[in-house]
């Protein structure tokens, strides 16, 4: 059970005030890190930033990142919505095991995930060979990026969707059934519309997680270069001066997409 009541204002609670000050340290750490990067770029290196905006390699790598992550999220949704619904509504033997498998990608080191995916999906790999025969290549290709992003990001989507379905009063579905709805009518007309906020926010999280991934992607597909790979490449070849502007641009693009989705999904439930 989650208690949503806010118990008290902080006024006259000395402990809370001290706690707040301690907690501020970590917030300041994040703020300083981001502010320092953005300030240095936009105010001290505006020219470098402008150059980046005109660098086709940068722009295309950012689009590639956002597009592949979008594809990974789409797959996570198609496969994850049914799974999340079953997990939220039913109890069955082995459910806990399935739930652990959902969370595994979160705790596996990213390069390990990359090695594991490469090993499975490379042209001479267990599954990769089969996919190559039907024309889908993962090694150093867009599909490899999508696979790596899907692997690391789907837990975020499934868990959010599961929370969403669990937050819909099951009596609503039951009432719909007594009123004559089949299970799928009740799902598509009652449960799914009422979970839409959780599903959208899970999709956003999943997309953001995909965009942020580097370790898993770089193993399976160094090329085509996603933004993260390009940033590290430019950092290694040109130092901060060349990598910072790309980093800032990527942050800005992420934030805009993020906010746009958030606003578009503002509904009452």
């Amino acid at each position: 059970m989650r208690y949503v009541e806010i118990t008290n204002s902080m006024r006259k609670n000395p402990l809370s005030c001290i706690f707040f000050l301690i907690g501020l340290v970590i917030i300041l750490f994040v703020v300083a890190t981001l502010f320092n990067l953005i300030f240095k770029t936009l105010f001290l290196n505006m020219e470098g930033f402008r150059d980046i905006l005109n660098d086709p390699a940068v722009i295309s790598s950012i689009w590639l990142t956002m597009y592949t992550s979008f594809l990974a999220t789409l797959i996570a949704m198609v496969l994850g919505i049914p799974l999340a619904y079953v997990l939220a509504r039913h109890d069955f033997f082995g459910k806990q095991i399935i739930e652990s498998f959902i969370d595994i990608p979160v705790i596996i080191p990213h390069t390990v995930a990359g090695i594991a995916l490469f090993s499975l999906l490379m042209k001479r790999g267990a599954i990769g060979g089969f996919f190559e025969s039907i024309g889908i290549v993962f090694q150093d290709s867009m599909w490899g990026i999508v696979a790596a992003m899907l692997f690391v990001s789907y837990p975020f989507f499934v868990n959010a969707a599961k929370d969403g379905f669990a937050s819909v009063n099951p009596n609503l579905e039951k009432v719909a059934r007594t009123l004559g709805a089949s299970q799928s009518h009740a799902f598509f007309h009652v449960t799914l519309p009422l979970s839409v906020r959780h599903i959208v926010s899970g999709a956003i999280m999943s997309w953001a997680r995909g965009v942020s991934e580097f370790g898993a992607v770089v193993v399976i597909a160094y090329y085509p270069m996603i933004a993260s790979t390009l940033i590290l490449y430019r950092f290694n070849t040109g130092g901060l001066a060349e990598s910072q502007p790309i980093a800032v641009l990527l942050i800005i693009m992420c934030f805009i997409t993020f906010l746009a989705f958030r606003l578009a999904s503002k509904k009452k439930w």
């Binding site: 009063n169 039951k174 719909a176 059934r177 009123l179 709805a181 009652v190 009422l194 009452k268 439930w269």
Partner: protein, 353 residues
Amino acid sequence: MLEIVNVSNDWNGIFALKDITLKVNDGEYFVILGPTGAGKTLLMEIIAGLYYPDSGKVSISNKDVTQLPPEKRNIGFLYQDYSLFPHYDSRSNIEYGLKIRKVPKSERETIIEGLSSMLDIGHLMDRDVTTLSGGEQQKVAMARALAIRPDILLLDEPFSALDEATRNRLIGDMKELHKKERITTVHVTHSQEEAMILADRIAIMMDGRIVQVGEPKEIFYKPENLEVAKFVRIENIWDVDVIENSDKGLLVRLNGYEVLTPPYSKEIGERARLLIRPEDIVLGSGENTSARNRFMGTVESIEYRGFFNMVRIDCGLPVVAAITTQSVQELGIEAGSKVGVFFKSTALHVVPI
């Protein structure tokens, strides 16, 4: 007619139902009364087809529906939380079942019109259901359940989420509605008041079992056993010895007095438990009554309870009487007063010890 035969359900030991058999007649208002956690909601969901029983049979109008999914049963279900669809307005909530049944728009409107005037909810039709008060939600949910013209109406604690005033008003409305429409209704509740006011018959359910079925007065005056007696608030429970058993009834020894009860099959010398409801105890100042059974006692306390007063009297054994405020004034009693305690033999009830 709804028939439930030997329905059992063992759900890891929780909410278990044990061999439930019940028959609800057409047009009857049937109340299942029992404490929280007795398995009442599960039984309702089995009737609706939302759960399948481990064993046993459910039939509606002599047709076995045990394996039928809920959408094929034509049952109206009202949950305690009303479970209105929060993404629809009142009208769309009520229309939901009709749209699934592909009822044409004009006919839908007629049905909604009728329900809205019957339940007096016309002004709520275009309201977002999340803004409705508890009582308004209940009415809209009721309209939604009635819109499909259900064969059976299942009400799961329909009044328990409401405040006292609204509850009293809606219980009255429900009684009116049933008088007019005569829909076969099963209503589960833990409230004796609801059961007394509404029920044609009552089933007492405890720990997943049906303990007693009967008309309200039967349940309240002649409980099957001590557990039911306590649940229906019979506060006078006295252990007695049987000293004579004749056609006229049992003669029992109670607190040094000999008391006559209606006939029960008991052996002489056996122990038994005598019950009498507080409202069947009459208080008087002298001996001016035909009641054979009488004690003298001292008033311990008088509690004002609104429509009546609860008087506790020490007669050597504790006696509780429910009497009107007028009686209290006429008798002029207060704590410490001496008072005569009378009751009719016919009001006594004997249960096994």
